[in-house]
C-alpha cells in the first residue's frame, strides 16, 4: 500500500498519478458527461491540494479524495440545471449537436440510469460495485453511518430496477 506524507509536493504528484483515473471513474457515473467529469476531477485535486498540508492519514487517502470528489459532483449537479437552461437558450433555432465521440464508448443504459440517481446513491453504488469498497469503508469515506450506506445502496438498486425494468 502506498504511503504519503502530508504537505509533500512530490507525494501529491504521485497521489495524482495513482488515483486520477479511479476518481474520474467515480465522477463519470455521477455527472452528465466525460468532459464535466474531467473538470470535476481537476477541481477535486485542486481542493485536495489546498488541504494537503492538513491531511491526516487517519483514513486511506483515496477515500479522502473520493469524499472531496463526491462533494464536487454534488455541487456540479446543483448548477447543472442553470447551465442546461443557458445552453437551451444559446441553441435556440440551431440543430441539436451530435453525441460526443469520447462518451459514446462509455454509454450504457445502466450508466445513464445511474446518472439520474441522487449523487450520493450513485457514489455508493460505484464505490461498492466498481472500486470494491465494503460498506464500512464507504461509510468512513463519506463520513456517514454504515447503516446510511446500506440504505442508500438499497434505494439505488430499487431505483435502477424500476428504470431498467428488471
Amino acid at each position: 500500500m502506498e504511503t504519503y506524507e502530508a504537505g509533500s509536493e512530490a507525494d501529491f504528484e504521485r497521489l495524482y498519478r495513482n488515483t486520477y483515473h479511479r476518481i474520474l471513474g467515480t465522477l463519470v457515473t455521477m455527472v452528465r458527461d466525460r468532459a464535466t467529469a474531467e473538470d470535476c476531477a481537476q477541481e477535486t485535486f485542486e481542493r485536495a491540494y489546498r488541504s494537503w498540508n492538513s491531511w491526516r492519514p487517519d483514513a486511506p487517502v483515496e477515500a479522502w479524495l473520493h469524499r472531496i470528489a463526491i462533494n464536487v459532483a454534488i455541487s456540479d449537479r446543483r448548477h447543472q440545471g442553470i447551465r442546461q437552461a443557458g445552453e437551451i437558450i444559446r441553441r435556440l433555432g440551431r440543430p441539436e449537436p451530435g453525441p460526443d465521440p469520447a462518451s459514446v464508448a462509455e454509454h450504457s443504459d445502466m450508466l445513464a440510469a445511474m446518472k439520474k440517481l441522487p449523487p450520493k446513491q450513485a457514489a455508493a453504488l460505484v464505490l461498492r460495485h466498481y472500486h470494491g469498497y465494503s460498506n464500512r469503508e464507504i461509510a468512513a469515506a463519506l463520513g456517514v453511518p454504515e447503516q446510511t450506506v446500506a440504505s442508500r445502496l438499497g434505494a439505488a438498486r430499487k431505483h435502477l430496477q424500476a428504470v431498467l425494468g428488471r
Binding site: 495524482y16 486520477y20 483515473h21 457515473t29 485542486e46 445502466m110 460495485h129 438498486r157 428488471r166
Partner: protein
C-alpha cells in the same frame, strides 16, 4: 449477490475500465488568487467594501460640488471675496439707492471667467486629459487647480500654510467703471 449486482459490476467495468487506458492529463494548478472575503473576512468584506465605496463617493461629491460652486477647492477663499464685494457694492450706493444685485453679479461673472480661463491654461477646463505643455490633470471640473508641475509651490514643504487662492486675470479698468444704479420707484 443478485443478478442486478452482477450486471451492475459488469457494466461499470465495461464502461469505466477504458478510462484507465487514457493518458493522464497534466494536473491543473491550484488557483492562487485570494478572494476578498479571505482577506477581509466573510460577511465583513462585503460590508467593508460598501462602506469604503460610500465614503469615497461622498468625498468625491463634496469636492466636485465645492469646486463647481466656488471656483476654488477652498470655499473659504471665494466666500471671503464675495463678502468683501458685497460690502464694497453697498458702499458705492448713494443715499436712497437700493439693490446691489447687478454689482455683485458683475463681480461673479468676472470671477467665473477668470477661473475658467485659468483652468483652460492649466488643462483643467474641458476634461481632455493631460496637456503636454502644462501637465493639466484634465479633471473636467474647471476648478483651476491643475497639478501643474512647473509651478513653484512645493507641497512637501511643511512651512507652507497659505491656502490656495484664485488668480484673477487682469482686466481692462475702462470696461469696469463705477457702478450706476438707477434709483428705484
Amino acid at each position: 449477490m443478485s443478478d442486478l449486482d452482477r450486471e451492475l459490476e459488469s457494466e461499470l467495468h465495461r464502461a469505466l475500465d477504458p478510462l484507465s487506458a487514457a493518458p493522464l492529463p497534466p494536473r491543473r494548478l491550484a488557483r492562487t488568487h485570494m478572494p476578498a472575503r479571505t482577506v477581509l473576512g466573510g460577511a465583513g468584506a462585503a460590508l467593508g467594501l460598501k462602506i469604503l465605496s460610500g465614503v469615497a463617493v461622498a468625498a468625491a461629491a463634496v469636492t466636485v460640488a465645492g469646486a463647481a460652486t466656488t471656483g476654488s477647492l477652498n470655499p473659504t477663499v471665494w466666500g471671503q471675496q464675495v463678502t468683501q464685494q458685497v460690502a464694497s457694492c453697498k458702499a458705492q450706493l448713494a443715499d436712497g439707492q437700493h439693490g446691489i444685485g447687478d454689482c455683485v453679479s458683475t463681480f461673479a461673472n468676472q470671477h467665473g471667467q477668470a477661473v475658467a480661463s485659468s483652468a483652460r491654461q492649466h488643462g483643467n477646463g474641458n476634461g481632455n486629459g493631460k496637456d503636454k505643455t502644462n501637465n493639466g490633470n484634465g479633471n473636467g471640473s474647471g476648478n483651476g487647480n491643475g497639478s501643474d508641475k512647473s509651478k513653484s509651490h512645493s507641497p512637501k514643504d511643511p512651512t507652507t500654510t497659505t491656502p490656495p487662492t484664485v488668480e484673477i486675470e487682469p482686466t481692462d479698468p475702462s470696461s469696469h467703471g463705477p457702478v450706476h444704479v438707477t434709483p428705484g420707484p
